[in-house]
Amino acid sequence: MVPTSYYMILSGILFTIGVLGVLVKRNPIVIFMCIELMLNAANIAFVALGRHFAQVNGQMYVIFALAVAAAEVSVGLGIIVSIFRTRESINVDEMNLMKF
């Protein structure tokens, strides 16, 4: 049986990759994929810990988190599409109408 700590390490690595991607990438769709990675890191941790504690709760959280992530992506893509329509570019570096 694979020890729970392996899953936790995997989830930590995925979360870190997600955070780095959000910081480094310039395309909002790719940033969104990185955010999904962060959410899925938490999901992996929940499932693995649910098995570790022999509780069904862990899997229950994941179902809710998945539904929430789907809703977030739907709204997010809608916003990105509408931005693309107004300015023909979705590079986050060009989102600079408002500054100090």
Partner: protein, 124 residues
Amino acid sequence: MPVTAPSSSEYLPIIVFTLVGIGFVGATLLFSRLIQPHAPSKAKNSTYECGVAPTGNAWQQFNPHYYLFALLFVVFDVEAAFLYPWALAYRRVGMYAVGEMILFVVLLGAGLVYAWRRGALEWE
């Protein structure tokens, strides 16, 4: 604990199967590369689309209407994620679970009615 952990020897067939799969595909490609005659032409280099001559660019933009359908699909796709655990649990929970699921589906249905009223299901 109802989970029976697979021991490492149970993974052995999977590893063998993976290796055989990779080896078979690799060997076939290598062998055909070795014995084939090399005579490229324009028709041969074009993208294979089931025998029909390909039209347009693969990077063309899609109609944004597909996006609306995709959204509606995601909603009902995620609904299925809730229906599976419900299907497993409802025998124990009984009519209460049926009521809750009806409520859930009615809420989603209201969303669908809204999308319909807003004309999201029509092409112009």
